[in-house]
């Protein structure tokens, strides 16, 4: 794991200030079929390589972030606020 995560609000901070939640996945519609919700809650691509994850800057700005990270090399590629809309 890279030892620093560059928070868009606080700058480059030690990763011990952050808590990980897990994969940042698009949330299905509330009335989506059960199979879609099952997939969302329980199934994971679990890639070896680039992965988007929710991290919480718990000991900093307390914002939820989406960190793009490599699961094999542990390098952090990008980090943005989770509220920020990204073009699909």
């Amino acid at each position: 794991m890279a030892s620093l995560i560059s928070c868009p609000h606080c700058g480059s901070r030690p990763k011990e200030e952050f808590e990980i939640k897990g994969a940042a996945l698009p949330r299905p519609a509330p009335d989506a079929p059960q199979s879609e919700w099952f997939d969302h809650v329980f199934l994971r691509e679990n890639p070896r390589g680039r992965y988007d994850e929710y991290w919480h800057h718990a000991a900093g700005c307390r914002r939820w972030l989406v960190v793009t990270r490599d699961t094999a090399s542990h390098e952090v590629e990008a980090c943005r606020d989770a509220a920020e809309r990204v073009p699909a």
Partner: protein, 416 residues
């Protein structure tokens, strides 16, 4: 060659030049009845029990590295069956019973040592929880015993009983639990399976799963295509990667768990002691090193190495439990990739693909399960139906709402 005191004596006459290799190094045949992907403890045990219990010997175990290079050589060697839930306990108890007869079965010294596994408690609530777990174990016919503070003081006088945050009030012990030398488990199973005709093929990485009309017909490997009638996956931390080759998406995340060993010390800790509240557990190897570990690092990882923050955290937790550890030094640390499932319990099941079978989701509890995992996976591969103790360990249990969640934390793999 059968190992015995006599064989040691006889070979001594020849200055030990007469020993042969414990297993062969075969090139793959074009086709096998069953191929197992993953030559770790579980894969090798599966091959052994396929040959021994079901008479199926036209089997290959494909290992991308060398035998013992994965999690079977990267754990803290603990065996126990102190599980609460009905879906788990009988399975782990079968495993412990197989451990008890393992060395005779394999004709291999695996240094099985039933030194007792002790879980400490620090509050009334924790005492109640451990009493419940102990009762659950005894209802399954498994040994469990609650120990009070006075008993612990005679067993482990050097612990910090009056710690301000986590005073030690007592513990739950399973005396039949203990440790096993992990490398010897891999070697013993490899040797026993090989002796019955199983091909253990090392340095053979599976790169694809070939299917025709839906069914699996074989695997693409770094040593070329190998055909099979049935395919079993036992790839631990890489389960998602291998399953993806067959188009499956698993309820699994890969996480890194670290373990540590200290410099060698004189006999000091006689049991496996688990300080769950502080995320620390320790035992002492026969060589004298303290073998200890803590929680997973918490983030998804395929790297077989962890982070310094956990090294520090584990050391702090260890000091909180045993202040005398302050002067010992770390000798080595290592990381293994855990296949963390969505409820913290494993999967031994068929898959939606007819002749593809899955053994995965061991979280950080795979080592103790090795014999039963192999035994039950062999049963499933040979007969196409689950062994009775793995009936609950279904792949589709999440969808049906029958998760086996020992810790009650839900679909959050890094918390199990």
């Amino acid at each position: 060659m059968r190992y015995s005191a006599f064989s040691v004596f006889r070979n001594a006459l020849d200055k030990h030049r007469g020993w042969s290799s414990a297993w062969r190094f075969p090139e793959p045949k074009p086709h096998y009845d069953i191929i197992i992907v993953g030559g770790g403890g579980h894969g090798l045990a599966t091959a052994h029990y396929l040959a021994k219990e079901h008479g199926i010997t036209n089997v290959a175990v494909l290992e991308k590295g060398y035998i013992g290079s994965g999690n079977v050589g990267r754990n803290t060697t603990i065996i126990r069956s102190n599980y609460l839930l009905p879906g788990n306990n009988p399975f782990y108890e079968l495993s412990l019973k197989l451990w008890e007869g393992l060395e005779q079965d394999l004709n291999y010294n695996a240094m099985v040592s039933q030194r007792g596994v002790l879980n400490l408690y620090h509050s009334d609530a924790q005492q109640a929880a451990y009493t419940r777990r102990g009762n659950g174990m005894r209802l399954h016919g498994v040994d469990a015993e609650m120990l009070d503070r006075a008993q612990l003081k005679t067993m482990l006088p050097f612990m910090d009983f009056d710690n301000a945050r986590f005073p030690i009030l007592g513990g739950l012990i399973q005396r039949r639990g203990g440790t096993v030398r992990h490398d010897a488990v891999a070697w013993g199973y490899a040797r026993a399976a090989d002796a019955r005709g199983v091909d253990v093929i090392q340095n053979c990485e599976v790169t694809g799963i070939r299917r025709e009309n839906g069914r699996v017909v074989g695997v693409e490997t770094s040593k070329g295509f190998i055909g099979c009638n049935k395919l079993g996956l036992a790839a631990a931390g890489n389960s998602s990667r291998v399953a993806e080759m067959a188009g499956l998406k698993l309820p699994i995340e890969s996480h890194v768990l670290q373990a540590f060993v200290s410099e060698g010390l004189k006999p000091f800790i006689d049991h496996v002691v688990i300080f769950g509240a502080g995320h620390f557990y320790v035992s002492q190897s026969d060589k004298g090193g303290l073998v200890f570990g803590g929680d997973i690092d918490g983030y998804n990882s395929y790297a077989q190495r962890g982070n310094l923050a956990i090294v520090e955290h584990v050391a702090e937790a260890g000091l909180a439990m045993i202040p005398a550890l302050s002067r010992i030094r770390y000798l080595r640390s290592w990381g293994g990739v855990m296949d963390m499932s969505m409820d913290g319990s494993p999967i031994i099941d068929c898959t939606p693909i007819d002749n593809l079978y899955l053994n995965a989701g061991w979280c950080y509890g795979g080592f103790k399960a090795t014999p039963a995992s192999g035994f039950c996976f062999a049963h499933l591969l040979a007969r196409g139906e689950p062994h009775s103790v793995t009936r609950a360990m279904r792949l589709d249990r999440f969808e049906r709402g029958y998760a086996i969640d020992e810790t009650g934390r839900g679909a959050q793999p890094n918390l199990h």
